[in-house]
């Protein structure tokens, strides 16, 4: 028997008995071993993932490569006729199968093209074409000969871990959710009812509005193996709002005579690990094609540590005094500093909803503000002295001024008042023409869009609002925050009655937050609880901003507790981990689902230590066989936490009277003794230059209720670089 054997340098495709009339095709490389039975069902009988030596299909259950279902009486006539072509080129190879049926009831032809290199990836291009022959007069057959339900059963029935958990990350509406499957394998690919899913709230909600689409990821945690399905192109509307249909179309489509439908084109990739690997692959794909030129402008550096913003109708009487006809900007910003830690940004909104009363457009209205443009500049100057950047609003829909170049008009105003940028009302992106007009007056000015830009828009717009219609419950992460951390997306929600979830989301994702309590004259005030939470959030964001704005960000670090979610912001000398506990209010001591003990693994140099700076609680690092883990000895008092890891720069020693803080080595900066007021905000009780060290006694300690004070070292750039929790006792 002649056995055709084609050998490329790294991919081996072997057809048995020969390539002209194969019955079995074996594809082998260093990572995969795939066996295809060339029969009327074109079945995948084996798919071995070699790095884990794991068979991905259920043993003894070959699955069709591509299936179609329809309503014919003579169903499953299959594709008994096949034309196989194997192409080899250097280190890659392609397997092309044209499969069709000699039954006239089945006019469909499968055009399957699978590409292989030496990796665990399959580049799949699958089309179905309708080659129905005219002249066939049977009515029922002709009707049935255009509709079908396509599927990729081999893909959707992967189960290397029978009985084990499966998780699927897929696009549900505009978000991505990571959901668990129950046990159960699809025994019969015709029946979708075997897909049992125990509907639960999503494990996590990840929002990212724009293409390119995030790949679908199927996880098998028990085997530490995952499969990524990156669907680049399809003519079929995959219903990804239903988990059952997230891996195959599974819906009736129409293919008219002589038409062709692209069912799938993309990459199917097997890997060791969980969805994070897919995320990294996807992030690299997006970033490699992204133009970061605008983000690299040196002048943008001063905005990178802006976190808290305020948006308001400028004629709110907290900002403008009608009895004296003056702005109250200093009063407002100073009060804000006490109340919530201070605003880094201020959106100066002056036109809507007044514009339209007469012929004055937004630019003419500037002249009629108190002091005109000079008055606005004075406002901006005063804000700058209080470390607040000011953005002007640009209303693109305001055309009553009939100006020939609104970009130029806006740029002139921006330059005259020395503002820091523009809020682009109703826009999702801007353009280079506007950018160029503004660059003449201020190349460092930022564009902030009200809507989220697509990828093209993100290249020009360096800041945007994350502004959904309603806030959805936690845990939610903003994928964009982790894919392009250079882009600053500020959380905002104008109509929520309770903005606690919004603030929590801003904290958990370490993004900016916009406070908006005067919505064009309609007031939606913040509660005291919200203000306290914002103050705590604001303190953390600023104290550890170097880590938070770093490029090394990790979403949803794997944890050992189902309801614990952790994001990592990994600076070079400080690492910040934001924590959210999903079940805090529902913890039951009968089932002991408390979040204590081992939380997640961490990779830290020796001599580093950790503190929960949100709850002012100690955290332990335990090391077992070289692997370090975070260990929480007690539950967090609330559903949020913030672990900060730093090298030990300061030394705290107990004395008879109290404690001494010393700084081994010459370190400039400030040592602070932090006490806590009733709202858990940090209050600096005592501070000194770092070189002088610090001594404090119990009497000087404003403790938290459980007896801790915080000592921290702040460098000359106002960044906190070491934090100590000292147990003072009562």
């Amino acid at each position: 028997m002649f056995i055709a054997c084609g050998v490329s340098a790294q991919v081996n495709i072997r057809a048995v008995p020969n390539e002209q009339n194969p019955k079995v095709i074996y594809i082998n490389n260093d990572s995969l071993s795939l066996t295809i039975q060339v029969n009327d069902r074109l079945e995948v009988s084996s798919l071995l993932y070699k790095p884990a030596n794991t068979e991905m299909l259920q043993a003894g259950k070959p699955m069709p490569l591509v299936s179609i279902d329809n309503n014919w009486t003579l169903n499953n006539v299959g594709f008994g006729l096949q034309e196989v072509t194997i192409k080899r080129s250097g280190t890659t190879a392609r397997l092309q199968i044209h499969a069709y049926s000699n039954y006239t009831e089945n006019p469909f032809h499968l055009l399957i093209d699978l590409g292989f290199d030496n990796s665990a990836s399959i580049a799949a291009d699958i089309k179905i074409t309708n080659q129905f022959k005219d002249g066939f007069s049977d009515l029922y057959r002709s009707e049935s000969s255009t509709s079908l339900v396509p599927g990729l059963p081999w893909l959707s029935s992967l189960q290397p871990d029978p009985g084990g958990e499966r998780r699927l990350l897929y696009k549900k509406g505009t978000n991505y959710v990571l959901e668990k499957y129950s046990e159960g394998v699809m025994a019969d690919y015709h029946s979708v009812d075997n897909w049992e899913r125990q509907p639960k709230a999503p494990v996590v909600d990840m929002q990212y509005y724009e293409d390119p689409a995030f790949p679908t990821v199927l996880e098998f945690p028990g085997k530490q193996i995952s499969v990524m399905v990156d669907r680049v192109q399809t003519d079929v509307k995959w219903n990804t709002s239903d988990i059952k249909e997230a891996l195959w179309p599974n819906m009736t489509i129409e293919i008219k005579k002589k038409d062709t439908v692209q069912v799938f084109k993309g990459t199917i990739k097997f890997f060791t690990g969980d969805w994070h690997q897919a995320f990294n692959w996807y992030r690299n794909k997006v970033r490699n094609a992204f133009d970061f030129s605008f983000y690299k402008r040196p002048g943008l550096a001063k905005y990178k540590k802006d976190f808290l913003a305020y948006h308001s109708f400028i004629f709110n009487h907290r900002l403008y005094d009608p009895t004296t006809n003056t702005y109250l900007v200093e009063n407002f910003l100073n009060n804000a500093k006490k109340e919530n830690g201070g605003f880094d940004q201020f959106y100066f909104w002056h036109a809507y909803p007044r514009v339209g009363v007469d012929s004055r457009d937004q630019f003419a209205l500037y002249e009629d503000l108190p002091g005109g443009l000079a008055g606005v500049k004075d406002f901006v100057d005063k804000a700058h002295k209080l470390n607040t950047h000011v953005y002007l609003a640009y209303n693109p829909w305001d055309v009553i001024g009939k100006r020939t170049d609104m970009y130029q008009a806006q740029a002139v105003v921006l330059g005259k008042v020395n503002a820091d940028g523009l809020l682009l009302d109703t826009e999702r992106k801007s353009n280079t023409k506007f950018r160029k007009a503004v660059d003449v007056y201020n190349p460092d000015a930022l564009f902030v869009t009200e809507g989220r830009p697509d990828l093209d828009g993100l290249e020009v717009t360096t800041t945007s609002w994350d502004h959904p219609r309603t806030s959805l419950p936690m845990p939610r992460i903003d994928l964009l925050r982790f894919i392009i951390p250079e882009h600053r997306a500020f959380q905002i929600q104008r109509w929520d009655r309770d903005r606690i979830p919004l603030i929590k989301k801003a904290f958990f994702n370490a993004t900016g937050l916009v406070v908006w309590d005067d919505v064009f004259g309609e007031v939606n005030l913040q509660s005291a609880d919200e203000k306290i939470l914002i103050h705590r959030y604001n303190t953390i964001m600023h104290d550890f901003s170097d880590a938070i704005i770093s490029a090394d960000v990790v979403p949803l670090i794997h944890t050992f507790k189902d309801e614990l979610f952790v994001n990592g912001f990994l600076g070079s000398d400080v690492k910040v981990f934001t924590l959210y506990q999903g079940n805090h209010a529902a913890v039951s001591h009968f089932f002991d689902n408390r979040i204590i003990g081992k939380l997640f693994n961490i990779n830290l140099p020796d001599n580093w230590h950790l503190t929960d700076v949100w709850n002012k609680r100690p955290v332990e690092i335990q090391e077992v066989q070289g692997i370090k883990s975070i260990f929480l000895p007690q539950e967090m008092p609330e559903d949020l936490g913030c672990l900060v890891a730093t090298p030990r720069l300061i030394k705290v020693d107990k004395t008879y009277e109290g404690w001494n803080v010393t700084t081994p080595g010459l370190i400039k900066g400030t040592i602070e003794l932090i006490g806590f007021d009733i709202s858990m905000r940090n209050e600096i009780t005592k501070s000194t230059e770092a070189l002088a060290g610090l001594s404090f006694s119990k009497n000087e300690c404003r403790q938290s209720a459980d007896g801790y004070v915080m000592v921290q070292y702040r460098n000359q750039e106002n960044e906190v670089k070491d934090v100590y929790l000292v147990k003072v006792g009562y």
Partner: protein
């Protein structure tokens, strides 16, 4: 007896003179005004959704979602200016009182050297704000109309959408033009009480001031000559029906004084 008779006669003459003077004064006080007899007025006003609304009753209607305020109000007799206050009338006020606003940004912006533009003596006075209007009203012994008074004067009791009836007719009001016109330019657009220019020309201030603790606002009625276009985000100061109003925030004087806002007075 002759002396007594003369003295009596003189007294009678004096009293008659006072009566005549009072009558003349009263006539002068209501000169240019129309008497509107009191009534139980079913007041229904509405405005399209606009940010910054307070808690009005919400209703869905053929024009979309609206906020409606509806109740019966007992109106007593009152006089209303037949026309909007004119430049000439306002000049008389200034000449008599030397009134100067505390903050004069855009005050009578279109006047030059304390005089209105030539030929515009009978144009509605504009570029005045609420305080400027109230000052004039106080000098004349009048007041700004309440919204109910204004609407009743424009509408009567049959709920008509425009002073002349229910159908819009661009020949009966100054809306969507290039500027205000002399008062009374549209005599056929009169209301049931012969009040003129209740629709269009200039939007009219009313006695409806509110302070919500963070903003000042009141309501303008009647719409004006200026009609914005292209975007629904523009505030609606163009074509307004009798029962529609514009929420107008009192911002800074420079903003508040507008080419499209004027007023008329009532006397109760």
């Amino acid at each position: 007896m002759k002396q007594i008779s003369f003295k009596f006669f003189k007294t009678m003459l004096t009293m008659a003179g006072i009566c005549v003077a009072s009558y003349v004064s009263a006539q002068q006080a209501t000169s240019g005004m129309v008497l509107i007899k009191g009534t139980k007025f079913h007041y229904l006003q509405q405005n399209r959704w606009r940010e910054g609304l307070e808690l009005n009753q919400y209703k869905e209607g053929p024009l979309g979602d609206t906020y409606v305020e509806e109740y019966d109000v007992d109106l007593k007799d009152f006089y209303m200016d037949k026309t909007e206050v004119t430049n000439k009338q306002y000049k008389a006020f200034l000449d008599a009182t030397s009134y100067k606003p505390t903050f004069d940004q855009n005050f009578l912006k279109h006047w030059k050297n304390g005089m209105y533009p030539k030929g515009q003596e009978n144009y509605p006075v504009v570029y005045i704000d609420l305080d400027d209007a109230k000052a004039y009203a106080a000098w004349t012994g009048k007041q700004l109309p309440t919204e109910a008074e204004w609407q009743y004067a424009a509408q009567g009791n049959d709920g008509r959408l425009f002073p002349w009836g229910d159908r819009w007719d661009s020949t009966l009001a100054n809306v969507g033009s290039s500027g205000a016109k002399a008062v009374g330019s549209y005599p056929k657009g009169a209301s049931p009480f012969a009040v003129l220019d209740m629709t269009g020309n200039v939007a009219e201030m009313t006695d409806s001031f509110h302070d919500d603790g963070m903003h000042w606002f009141s309501y303008l009625r009647g719409g004006s000559w200026f009609q914005s276009y292209y975007s629904l985000w523009y505030t609606e100061n163009g074509l307004l029906t009798n029962n529609q109003r514009l929420k107008f925030w009192w911002l800074n004087p420079g903003y508040n004084r507008s080419e499209a806002i004027g007023f008329r007075c009532v006397k109760r």
